[in-house]
């Protein structure tokens, strides 16, 4: 378990570095696909099988197909021809170190507080993971789910409108 986690964590960090650092957008996109698949494995290790499937289908599947499709349609070399500015990576690195130090100090100062709930892995396994998530989605979280469906509808209409319109 620990060895598997270390392997997946290393994979996640390497592919995330690929997303940030590669010069050609298609390599960034493929690194992001690898990153999302590794994250799906982490969801599986955290006993969230439903989210594993959603991550693979929605993120690594649909969203990344959209990205790769757009990169293939547009000029894939456009980022390579951008003149480098030089010191942007230095500023970015300094920001990253400070930000990560803040996050880690916050984590170790506060710890994991909060009252544990009743849905232990055994209780979830007795009913089934997808069943328990589905019950939570359609009882306790019914209103957020409905609002999200409305948001998806608005996003679809907006995307079609933007695709039809000609701007200059």
């Amino acid at each position: 378990m620990v060895v598997g986690f270390a392997l997946v964590a290393a994979w996640e960090i390497v592919t995330a570095a690929g997303v940030v650092a590669f010069r050609r957008p298609i390599y960034n996109a493929l690194s992001l696909v690898a990153n999302m698949l590794g994250l799906a494995v982490l969801f599986l290790m955290l006993n969230a099988q439903f989210l594993f499937a959603a991550q693979v289908i929605v993120y690594a599947g649909a969203v990344m197909v959209l990205f790769v499709f757009i990169i293939a349609l547009m000029n894939p070399e456009s980022d390579v021809t951008l003149p480098p500015r030089g010191n942007e990576w230095i500023y970015g690195g300094v920001f990253g170190v400070i930000f990560a130090a803040l996050l880690v100090s916050l984590l170790f100062n506060r710890g994991l507080t909060g009252r544990p709930g009743t849905l232990t892995p055994e209780a979830i396994a007795a009913v089934g993971n997808v069943q328990t998530v589905g019950i939570a989605l359609y009882t306790k979280f019914l209103f957020p789910v409905e609002v999200t469906s409305l948001l998806l509808l608005i996003a679809a209409v907006g995307a079609v409108y933007l695709a039809m319109r000609r701007i200059r």
Partner: protein, 101 residues
């Protein structure tokens, strides 16, 4: 031996920081978008890890909603990027400052 919760949260923080640095440094709008996806994924990992270690499903449901909203966000964002590309503007977020004035 199970993995302690804070290692998942540490990994989530590292991934979020990398996404934030990429968001600030990169200039291709598509790559900036991918860095936003990286940050959203890192937050999802934190949600699911806390949900697992507090024996609750609220974090899983929240991560599911985040995935949905992120998919909608990508659709609209990419439509805007394609419009900018079709208008013949350079693919550099530093040059897209029409809304600044």
């Amino acid at each position: 031996m199970p993995v302690p919760a804070y290692t998942f949260l540490l990994l989530s923080g590292v991934l979020f920081t990398m996404g934030a640095v990429g968001f600030l440094v990169r200039r291709n709008p598509l790559v900036v978008f991918m860095c936003i996806e990286l940050m959203l994924n890192a937050v999802n990992l934190a949600f699911v890890a806390i949900s697992r270690y507090l024996n609750s499903l609220d974090g899983v449901v929240f991560a599911f909603l985040v995935i949905t909203v992120a998919a909608a966000e990508v659709v609209v964002g990419i439509a805007i990027i394609v419009q900018v590309y079709r208008a013949g503007r350079p693919m550099d977020v530093d040059d897209l400052d029409l809304m600044k004035e």
